[in-house]
Symmetry: C2
Subunit: 641 residues, 2 copies
């Protein structure tokens, strides 16, 4: 895909124009910083969309990434584009007709909220000249000047911008400022906190520090901490800025030159890390030796060179070098834990549900990192949905229109809830009224449905489109049940999630390492056994994770198959699960009822219940009626002491 097709990455839509709908509030109580020191007062610049409802229960906090700002979306048709227009707006996945959306500029930034470019004087000139009456602790002031313009104000005496003396801040400090904003707006608990990349770090920091702060946490293209590789790139970027001859220890605001070269180089480096290899090839290979010429002293021998020169220079007109250092350092210090136990400690008390999304070609925040978080949340038995979206767009994907169209529905579904009792099952009526077809179950699924008691916690491995889980929920509507699916096919993950079910993106051939012993009352493997490579390993895992397990499978010793094989001497075929050619059947294993019984006995497993069907003849087969011959389908409920 060409980046030109989707001008949705941050760079193509930003400008250094003033933020026309930005609001500003001053927090006059000092902010004690995590790493020491304090900021005497904080100016917070933010934008909002929609209306806060009467009980302040519909507020969504949107957190921006390192080079972003408060302008997440347009406010009207004539407004300049926002960086998440594909996700936020009237009728969009984050529906501003329904929710009150808040997006503040982060602490340490250069787009309105206090940052290194701000004056460090104790007396705040702003306060003295504000047309509004000062309110103790809080002041409202709208500053129409461009943020960069505001930064270049001259001051006498001590009134210099912080520059590189701006204290070292953390993601936690950013969260504290956002919390003050929430207080100011009268928001006690967010409906959701949403962010990608650095924004995802903020969302995760919020819930780890304030476990009850939100109903939902949506963390996209993010991680519990940067990889060492990403960290290395940030170190180099900062070195480039800080060794720029015009950096002057960060005190460059009143000088004729700014460290634009170093900042441009830092940005070029960032750019490569945001793009996938495939995206770069598509964009630059066709005219590799034909650079577009732009006004720049940077090298322009190759097309990628002129692109980087352009992007680097453009960035320096709208972003402050000290801010870049401050924010990248905050991101580099962010560390929720490098192993499962530490992550579990981090999220242990969270009461929210989670949605995590990663992108297959994102090598800066690789999917494996989202998976670390998902594994910890799963082991803690938190409500979580996780999807790794197939995409060519690299880390940028979370901002690209095409990818937003794919993962937006997950966000929308996660936000959809007509009642405040989280976890209560929606009725079948709700699903139908949303336009989904009523659930149609197979015979085996009907049997499984019958034997799962109300109130059970159920894990469905290879849950398909979630039809069985949805049927279980419908059957016991009114009784809270912990239901979770595991799937590996993207369309199935999306379909299951769109039913309002928790589902995680997982390859069963890797076992179930995310789950803990006896985590679920029932673990189901429905019509999936024949697709599994590591059968014994998976059965062992099911018996570990579930107090009981239910497996259903087609019986490859079914009479019709034996007859077909013996008479035709060919790979046997019959209707249903058996109706494939030998050379392209999706089936990987060919279990028979007798084989499975033998294996289970060998594994020391107890069979608590056996249900057999000849589905092709719509006939139930008794256990003493030679099911190995007469049944084409088996359902076994098992456990191991």
């Amino acid at each position: 895909m060409s980046l030109n097709e989707d001008c949705s990455s941050t760079d193509d839509i930003r400008s250094d124009e003033p933020l026309s709908h930005a609001q500003t509030v001053w927090f006059n109580q000092p902010l004690l910083l995590e790493r020491g020191g304090q900021l005497p007062k904080i100016r917070c610049c933010y934008e909002t969309w929609g209306t806060l409802n009467a009980d302040a229960s519909n507020a969504i906090l949107v957190c921006h990434a390192v080079s972003g700002d408060s302008h997440a979306a347009r406010h009207n048709a004539n407004d300049q584009p926002g960086w998440w227009d594909g996700l936020i707006g009237p009728g969009m996945s984050i529906d501003t007709n329904q929710f009150f959306v808040v997006c503040p500029n982060v602490l340490g930034g250069c787009r309105g909220t206090t940052g290194p470019g701000d004056l460090r004087a104790e007396d705040d000139l702003e306060l003295a000249t504000s047309p509004n009456q000062p309110i103790p602790g809080v002041s409202i002031n709208s500053d129409e000047r461009s943020p960069l313009e505001a930064m270049s104000r001259q001051g006498g005496g001590d009134e210099r911008p912080y520059g590189a003396d701006f204290p070292r801040i953390t993601i936690g400090d950013m969260v504290e400022v956002q919390r003050r904003l929430a207080d100011h707006l009268g928001i006690v608990k967010w409906r959701a906190i949403v962010g990608g990349s650095l924004g995802g770090h903020q969302a995760l920091q919020w819930v780890s520090r304030y476990p009850n702060c939100t109903h939902t946490c949506i963390a996209i293209a993010t991680s519990p901490r940067l990889t060492s590789q990403a960290l290395g790139f940030d170190v180099i970027a900062r070195n480039a800025i800080q060794t720029d001859p015009h950096f002057h220890g960060g005190q460059y605001y009143d000088r004729p030159n700014r460290p634009v070269t170093g900042l441009a180089i830092a940005r070029m480096l960032g750019h490569i890390t945001y793009l996938s290899v495939a995206a770069m090839e598509a964009k630059f290979d066709p005219d590799r030796h034909d650079p577009r010429h732009i006004a720049s002293d940077f090298e322009q021998r190759f097309s990628v060179g002129s692109y980087l020169a352009h992007q680097g220079q453009k960035f320096t007109t709208r972003f402050d070098a000290n801010s870049y250092i401050t924010l990248s350092m905050a991101m580099d210090l962010f560390d929720l834990g490098g192993n499962r136990l530490k992550l579990m400690e981090t999220f242990d008390e969270c009461t929210c549900d989670f949605l995590l999304v990663s992108f297959s070609s994102d090598w800066l925040f690789p999917p494996a990192q989202s998976r670390e978080i998902v594994n910890a949340l799963t082991a803690l038995d938190k409500r979580v949905t996780y999807a790794e979206i197939t995409s060519d767009a690299g880390h940028d994907a979370f901002l690209i229109a095409r990818d937003m169209a794919t993962y937006g529905p997950l966000v929308q579904e996660r936000l959809r809830s007509s009642d405040t009792h989280r976890g209560v099952n929606l009725s079948a009526g709700d699903a139908v009224s949303k336009g989904q077809s009523p659930v149609q179950l197979t015979v085996a699924e009907e049997s499984i449905l019958e034997i799962i008691p109300a109130g059970s916690s159920v894990l469905d491995l290879g849950c398909g489109c979630g039809e069985l889980l949805a049927a279980i929920r419908d059957r016991h509507a009114g009784t809270p049940m912990r239901l979770m699916g595991v799937e590996v096919a993207q369309e199935n993950i999306l379909s299951t999630a769109m039913r309002g079910l928790d589902v995680i993106d997982y390859d069963l051939n890797n076992g179930l390492p995310a789950f803990i012993d006896d985590q679920f009352d029932v673990v189901v493997l429905n019509a999936t056994l024949q697709a599994v490579d590591n059968v014994v390993a998976l059965l062992e895992e099911m018996l570990r994770v579930g107090k009981k397990a239910i497996i259903s499978f087609p019986n490859f010793a079914y009479r019709a198959l034996r007859e077909d094989y013996v008479t035709r001497g060919r790979s046997p075929r019959a209707v249903g699960e058996f109706d494939f050619d030998w050379h392209d059947t999706p089936n990987r294993r060919f279990p028979t009822i007798a084989d499975v019984h033998d294996l289970l006995i060998e594994m020391g497993v107890t069979i608590d219940r056996e249900i057999y069907w000849d589905v092709s003849q719509a006939r139930h087969i008794d256990a003493d009626d030679d099911p190995n011959l007469n049944a084409d389908t088996a359902v076994l409920e098992i456990h191991r002491s």
Copy 2:
């Protein structure tokens, strides 16, 4: 793996000491450069190991990578380490007891051969002060001064180092200098040209420009051109150097300060690209927040930061900034073609055989790029062996001891040849004398061996350890036969290559896109059909690529299996290929003779010959004796008009 365990990457062994065994020769004829301009005379600095034999047939050219030099290996036990000690030496894979090994510093470098740090005056001071009599066209001079020292010589008038005015050179220009060295040493044709990374570019450039220059081309961790991503990183690195305030347009040699900051930043960037993600995690994650403190102004907040600072600074003591620009630009301009047709044009006339090696975690020169070259060579019917080595060490792997131990034998085998008639089959005696066990064939393989005519070209898909190909070669020793294997398991690739056979690393489920129509007389799929996912696609490909195809497979309608299945009602088992549990059999497909016949008929294929065996009873089964029931093994020779 920790980089500290294998101090074999370039950085840990380099020093800025003089190269004690370096020899120098002057080429006084101007060198016309590919991109225009010329160099009036060239000093070439090189090292040699071993002795050139009487007919000059044992010379091997070793080409170094961007920050390397002529010191590829120690000359004696007391010598400083060489960058390829794990590959070159007495009794090593490149055996200096047997071969005459030559390693020159590249044109544009800063380790003895003419580069940007050299004087650009027409009069060469060196020549005037040489103790030796000038020989027309060539002068010998040994320069004991350190190369960097030599670069800082002062000169009056026009005698300035080239600096950034050094003409733009290409890999082709480097090759021209090496060619002059070959002439000087009396070498008409190399036994082999070997190189990794940029050294691989040189090897490929040699053979594309001079198709008869060598018997063997060995190209490791390399590409037909850089990816756009790698190119982008190089552009940023050069921008960092060129914007260093001390760069002075490249004329810094007589100044108190050099552009060490920019060069260090360039090197830091390179470092990250040479390491795999896993290697960085192993090295830096455990003490991420505990940097070792070194004397540096670069950021040292994180362990990766102090490492990069150390590596960056160390590099500046031994490498020249202008050289870095010159060499990286040459690498960036290198482009043998971005598509198969162009690559085929490039290598069309080559008469050498090829060995290519890539490394799984190398993301700078990813394996897919080696595969592009392999595909072009294969379509040209060149002799080629290709292995993608599983490694955690990233691009650095080609210099790491552990990985050299894995791929070294491939190099050694490719160089081993007791006769100069390339392509003539080695006798079975040769193989046995090397300590390999005589080839033991299965019954099916014996049948296949019988029906392949002498002189056929044979492609064996899923060739295992190469036993069938070796047997074919032995059977027809004395008759040149084009034999090639395809395998996907690393140990099989290595075993097959160690028999002196060509083998390429390929997943048959992707078809055979590398090969052209009717490329081989016979394509064999021996005891592999049952492991293939895309059966029809592969059969189609075999029939396209081979004038005839031979498939052998176990017959899953064999009597014993039918009886077992019918009586026990379990997944059938029998001896041999059928002796697996249903739940972990490696078999993916379960063909029967009847099924395969039906499929072939459907595909319009003619069966030219059918051979059936009951191997378990060592009994041949006639085609009219119901082989579908009585045979456990089938061999079919087929073709399609």
